[in-house]
Amino acid sequence: MATTENTAENTAEVTETARGLIALPQTAARALIAVGAVATIASTFMSWTYTADFPGDLTYYGSPAGLQILDLVAGAITLLFALTLFDVRGLRWLNPAGATAPVVLAAASAFAVSWFSAIAIAVDLKGLVALDPGAYVTAIGSLIALVGTLALPSPGDTFKDWVSKPDRIPAAQKLPGWAERLVITAATAVALIVFTYGIGVDPEASETFIGYLLLVIFGTWALQAAGLFDRFATFNARHKGFATSMAFLAAAVFPFVENNEHNANLGVNILVVATVALGLNIVVGLTGLLDLGYVAFLGVGAYAAALVSGSEFSRFSGVQFPFWAAMLTGMAASLVFGVLIGAPTLRLRGDYLAIVTLGFGEIFRITVNNLDGSSGPNITNGPNGISMIPDLDIFGFNLGNSHDIGSITLGRFANYFLLMLIITGIVVIVFNRAADSRIGRSWIAIREDETAATAMGINGFRVKLIAFALGASLAGLAGTVSAHVGYSVNPAPYQFAGSVPPNSAFLLAAVVLGGMGTVNGPILGATLLYLLPEKLGFLKEYQLFAFGIALVILMRFRPEGIIANRRRQLEFHESDDSIDIPEQGLPDSTVGVTKAGA
């Protein structure tokens, strides 16, 4: 340990002497950044443009709005990181390595938001004349800050060195347990605020949402480069139960904070998609079976629930199951279909399995389309689907009605959001428990090397079928709720690829983007994939195109997904307490490659 500290100091000295890209004294560089950041912050209290035509109404002095709030946050982050370079007491934790990269990224976030705003105003309102002094101040201020960061000690020769986490980050002092819990709570609260702000952006104000995205991307990048995410992950691992319950608590608070039916509806849909993605994660992420027709199981669950919902368009309109029976019906139907489809197909491996599941997914949609009374027996009412599905009634609590809790009114979608949250919680527990058991290990073993797994005594077919059936029934469970939330079911959304989620490609992308084999990954992936098209309305018919581009970029630069499976690395660190483990990053990224190739 002593030697590592020494080396850390040595490297610190080396970087101290290393010159930045711009020859300026260090004090001047730091001062530039701080001044730039302060100017950026100040500018958000000024008017940026003369007219309220630009989304967010940036015309007032003294009260930031829309993009200005985002810029204010970006400026504040830059200032904070700049202060860490001055060795301000109490801020050391923010940038434990005193590294350059986080400061650069923080300044970049302010720069990106400021310049994006200024350019957007100029373009939207046809000309630089539309810019008020505030816009100039913010543009110049953020530029100064960014230029200042370039004069900081150079972390390396390549561009990558400037924007990535330094190799060595001194270990932070140990915090007492309650303090770690406090950090987790605070971080969860911040995450809730960030998420609520994002979901609350007016769909018309795409500019604001892009600014939000820029801030979130560069901001999280800066925090990651400072090594704070790693620290947070350690805390999380140490207080796993607490962290999980905090996350769920925050999610449960969401409908109370964001008291708006449209956004609550968004929340429900995100949860449905996230839950289904988690189910798919068992099949794809843990067991390594590429299932391209997974959305069919969501459809089976939704249709099963619709048929027994008592809707007058249902073939069995006289039948109305109570909610728990409807859910079990949906799950059971999906389970049966999962076994029926899995039993013949799971003897195949790799690409063959993918093609066959793709076929089965399409067969489901086409069959449902044709069971309309003319092409076949009338069961599903064909392309018209089953509409007017009544709301769920849970022990006399009708989810369709608004309910007052204290002074807050929970609307229909907020009710469903809370119900769906419970289901998501159940699915998370199922995922975690299944993954960390004999059966979960055999899934992973099959993903890693099926031949070796069978030679170790694992009945590959049986174990894969269990994964397939479990994944299917979880999708069916989510499907039952989605049928009730959406009032109706019809075959259209249950296709392989389409612009409207859910579809199989979307779910798969949520899993892969988020990070395979993790719990948070698919949830984050589903959230992003659902929210982005919703808020970036201007993309319109280019949505799928943008989706494809985003996938290509992410797979190129982060093949392991946004949240890599870091559990193992953590165990790694805690077990031997030294740093003689070769290349942290390399195995991680190759993991992603192999997984992505699977």
């Binding site: 058991s437 055999s442 073993a445 070796a452 005594g457 694992i458 009945n459 790694f572 805690e574």
Partner: protein
Amino acid sequence: MTTTTATSPVLEASGVTMRFGGLTAVRSVDLTVNSGEIVGLIGPNGAGKTTFFNCLTGLYVPTEGKVSYKGTVLPPKPHLVTSAGIARTFQNIRLFANMTVLENVLVGRHTRTKEGLWSALLRGPGFRKAEAASRERAMELLEFIGLAHKADHLSRNLPYGEQRKLEIARAMASEPGLLLLDEPTAGMNPQETRATEDLVFAIRDRGIAVLVIEHDMRFIFNLSDRVACLVQGEKLVEGTSEVVQGDERVIAAYLGTPFEGAPGAEELAEVEAAEAAEATGTPETAEAPEATETPEAAETPEAAESDAAAEGTTSKEGNAQ
């Protein structure tokens, strides 16, 4: 695992034949492994050793013949073979690379535990007990092979030799009565090979019979109670180390037979001189300049290996090809 007398057979393979289309990779091989025995299986590259292993462990369904373990005929399904009590390692290491060392061994415990999905989801006391027992047993095995301190490392990050050891531990986790090792010392340095030798003896002392494929002749003849030599899918000879080492056909298989046509006069003179110097034996050493000792001595790993390496270039009768 069992404490039977040395004569009770653990594995009986009779008339095992494996054809791939027109190619007969293994032809009517009989092999018996008794409890408490270490049996070696040697043969040149492509002789069908690994194919034979695959037939034993159910990865291949033999075209003819049957394999029985402690008197019961084995079904040709790998997981059933493993649960019956035969475990194996692979020639090219096949660990679960992205699982930890401990998890790898726990996967090996699969057949000796029964907890299914429901008990995993409900986490009853039975599940916890079984998990704890499995972990304890796995740690014990890691202790045995000397990897306990690396239990939480990813198996992909282990050095080569330790990966081989881990594969053995993983196989032993299924509590086998017979362990099949496919080239356990391939790519190891002499010290590691000696350590592996000790490990195999220790495994045998635990009551597990071992059948081992190897190219390292010193290793195999030190280790094995009996050695069988497989050439072109057929068992040439089986017996103690001395018997196999002295067998002309084995030597021919490894080193080739002399040209029918006359070799160069110079070479002939050389060989004759060597023959005159030493006792009797077949003049197989013409191609290996450093191996001018007796054919017996030519069986040492250096010579055998150099010949195996030079196999491609020496293409004489092409016996080994």
